[in-house]
């Protein structure tokens, strides 16, 4: 490995202008060591590669993510993600507050699957304390989690459209997501960050209109998925843009620790809802959609199919929500997790959200680590985007469906 200082002295000035150190690609390295063949060197001499900053202010980096691109004309040779623009020190903060206060931090990691984050944190605490929950709590949690998954995928669908240059899907996606946010607002009192699922149960019981509204939403949204497919998925331009773009094979996907729809699109049927069922997933019937090639089109298909599966899960559960209390733990009571280390995982809309707790038996965790799905998923882009065009890079980034605060924590 060549150090960046050495590289900047050898390579043209344009290489050294990015503040963060530059990850030298294998070609550069071999050129520096004189190991290239004549063809490669000729390529290098005739075209000048350049670096360009995509972000932190860029419309399609979905927030303040910065990608340093090494480009050759329109072709992207290398992608170097630079993180930390929304690093808020969540893990440090978590050491200073009690367990109940941790839950609302998870809202602010992956804010598009906020409820699932709440659930992951609550269930991590519940598992550590060995709290038993009743069926009502579990059923409601499952329903709202699936609703969250749908709204997250709706947003992703819209944003994918916008990233590919079609603005209309973006607004259709938001329009339909609004229906779910309205349901959430009614029951949970929040639209984006709800802090709804609490250790030991739920913040509130469901609103009396909840069941009716969810049913109304399902009958509204079911035909719209087909419309989504017709407007966008069936469009020849979209197919051309997504097929065979950003291929990630199963082996490197696993090695890169990629989870969620991206891993499934690469052909690994890995879904915690099926493999290690939590909530009432064990009682429901659903399929895990799996891709074959692992390109953007597979990721598109997997997510669209997941929306349909989520609807089917909700349909199975919504008619018979069991009776019971919505909270089995006393709210005012301090939570003390027994001494030890605990790791618990949950399948959010973007992949596995893991929570690691190291407890010393006090009211506050000794160490709390959030294993966020987007952190691992993002790095897959370094493998997927190399060799594509800028347009491909945008499509790939969109098909990964990143949420930047979840990466930076």
């Amino acid at each position: 490995m060549v150090s960046s200082e050495m590289a900047s002295s050898v390579l043209p000035n344009s290489l050294s202008h990015t503040r963060a150190g530059i990850h030298i690609s294998s070609l550069d390295e071999r050129i520096l060591k004189g190991q290239t063949d004549s063809k490669e060197r000729a390529d290098r001499e005739t075209t000048q590669e350049y670096f360009v900053n995509m972000g932190p202010q860029h419309p399609s980096t979905h927030g303040v993510l910065r990608l340093v691109l090494r480009m050759d004309g329109e072709t992207v040779r290398d992608v170097i993600p630079v993180l930390g623009y929304v690093h808020r020190g969540m893990e440090k903060k978590a050491e200073y507050v009690g367990y109940r206060q941790q839950v609302h931090f998870t809202d602010r990691l992956d804010y598009l699957s906020a409820v699932m984050g709440n659930w992951a944190m609550s269930s991590a605490i519940e598992k550590a304390m060995k709290t038993e929950l009743n069926d009502r709590i579990e059923t409601i949690r499952t329903i709202v989690a699936e609703l969250t998954r749908i709204q997250s995928h709706q947003l992703w669908w819209g944003v994918l459209g916008m990233d590919l240059g079609a603005f209309t899907p973006f607004l259709y996606g938001f329009r339909d997501r609004e229906k779910i946010t309205a349901i959430f607002e009614e029951t949970m009192g929040g639209r984006l960050t709800m802090n709804y699922i609490q250790p030991g149960g739920l913040m509130f019981d469901i609103h009396p209109d909840f069941v009716a509204n969810v049913k109304k939403f399902i009958s509204y949204f079911k035909p719209l998925i087909e419309e989504y497919e017709e407007l966008f998925g069936g469009n020849v331009i979209v197919q051309e843009r997504l097929k065979n773009v950003g291929i990630l094979d199963a082996k490197s996907a696993i090695s890169l620790g990629v989870t969620g729809p991206i891993l499934r699109a690469s052909g690994v049927a890995h879904d915690l809802r099926k493999l290690e069922p939590y909530g009432v997933y064990a009682k429901t019937k659903f399929n895990v959609p799996v891709g074959t090639v692992g390109d953007c089109w597979d990721r598109y298909q997997v997510r669209m199919q997941e929306m349909r599966e989520s609807i089917s899960i909700i349909e199975q559960l919504i008619d018979n929500v069991p009776e019971g209390k919505h909270m089995v733990m006393k709210f005012g009571a301090k939570i003390r997790v027994p001494e030890g280390v605990y790791y618990s995982q949950m399948e959010t809309a973007r992949g596995i959200f893991g929570i690691f707790i190291a407890s010393d038996g006090s009211e506050k965790p000794y160490r709390m680590h959030f294993r966020t799905p987007n952190f691992n998923n993002l790095w897959a882009i370094t493998q997927m985007a190399a060799g594509g065009r800028v347009g491909d890079l945008v499509a790939i980034l969109s098909s990964i469906d990143i949420v930047v605060p979840d990466i930076d924590r």
């Binding site: 507050v97 109940r100 206060q101 839950v103 609302h104 931090f105 809202d107 602010r108 209309t168 329009r175 609004e178 309205a182 607002e185 009614e186 029951t187 949970m188 009192g189 929040g190 960050t193 802090n195 913040m203 509130f204 609103h207 419309e227 017709e230 407007l231 966008f232 069936g234 469009n235 020849v236 331009i237 097929k243 065979n244 291929i247 094979d249 490197s252 074959t292 090639v293 692992g294 390109d295 089109w297 709210f331 005012g332 493998q383 190399a386 060799g387």
Partner: protein, 212 residues
């Protein structure tokens, strides 16, 4: 490491040059049909004209947009300044300033300071309150031009302190002094400069935030 040759790629079936052009064309027409449907049906418009529709705008009952303290019709609240909400708050957005109540040798609530600027509306303060004095309301129009205006006093002035009361001539005069002068109408902004009763640690944060 990045060997793409072994990966399966999606083969686009070559069903003929013109057939592909034709199917592509049809798929485009389908999309055009959908967008035209929405253009030709103005009833599908979902935009709400916000400031104009204020009169008819219904917010969800449970929407958490503003923390308030429940006061009864006479303007009294039940807060005992027990600090439980303050400790439950994850972001130190609540500060309960208390004062001595020598007549009962206890303390009582002086000012209930709530900082909207750092509040995350997690509802924990409401849930932990043993006397159910706090409440989240759906009044969401709290935007202001200055961040310092987002510091609120939730509690209504509850009359003079007991030391002042002790100086009153008789019970009748005391009763009159205690009676609230107006009905409670929600949190009042502290306007930034009223910072008495806020401990030094919080003032440090305020100063830093106040640079805006």
């Amino acid at each position: 490491m990045n060997d793409t040759s072994a990966q399966p790629t999606r083969r686009i079936p070559i069903t003929g040059y013109f057939a592909r052009i034709f199917t592509g064309f049809v798929s485009l027409l389908k999309g055009l049909k959908i967008t035209f449907h929405y253009l030709s049906h103005p009833s599908t418009v979902v935009t709400q004209q916000y400031p104009e529709n204020r009169a008819t705008l219904k917010m969800a009952e449970r929407l958490r947009a503003q923390l308030t303290m429940i006061h009864d019709d006479n303007g009294y609240h039940k807060c005992t300044a027990c600090h439980i909400c303050e400790q439950a708050c994850p972001n130190a957005s609540i500060h309960v300033a208390e004062r001595a109540k020598p007549a009962l040798s206890k303390t009582e609530l002086d000012t209930f300071i709530w900082r909207l600027d750092s509040c995350t509306f997690c509802n924990l303060c409401v849930m932990v309150c043993p006397f159910q004095v706090l409440q989240m309301k759906s009044t969401f129009e709290s935007s202001v031009y200055d961040q310092r205006l987002l510091i609120y006093n939730l509690s209504r002035y509850a009359g003079p302190t007991s030391t002042v009361l002790a100086k009153q001539a008789d019970d009748e005069a005391r009763k009159n002094a205690v009676e609230p002068r107006s009905v409670y109408d929600g949190p009042t902004a502290l306007n930034g400069f009223f910072l008495a009763g806020i401990p030094k640690e919080l003032l440090v944060t305020l100063d830093r935030k106040g640079e805006v």
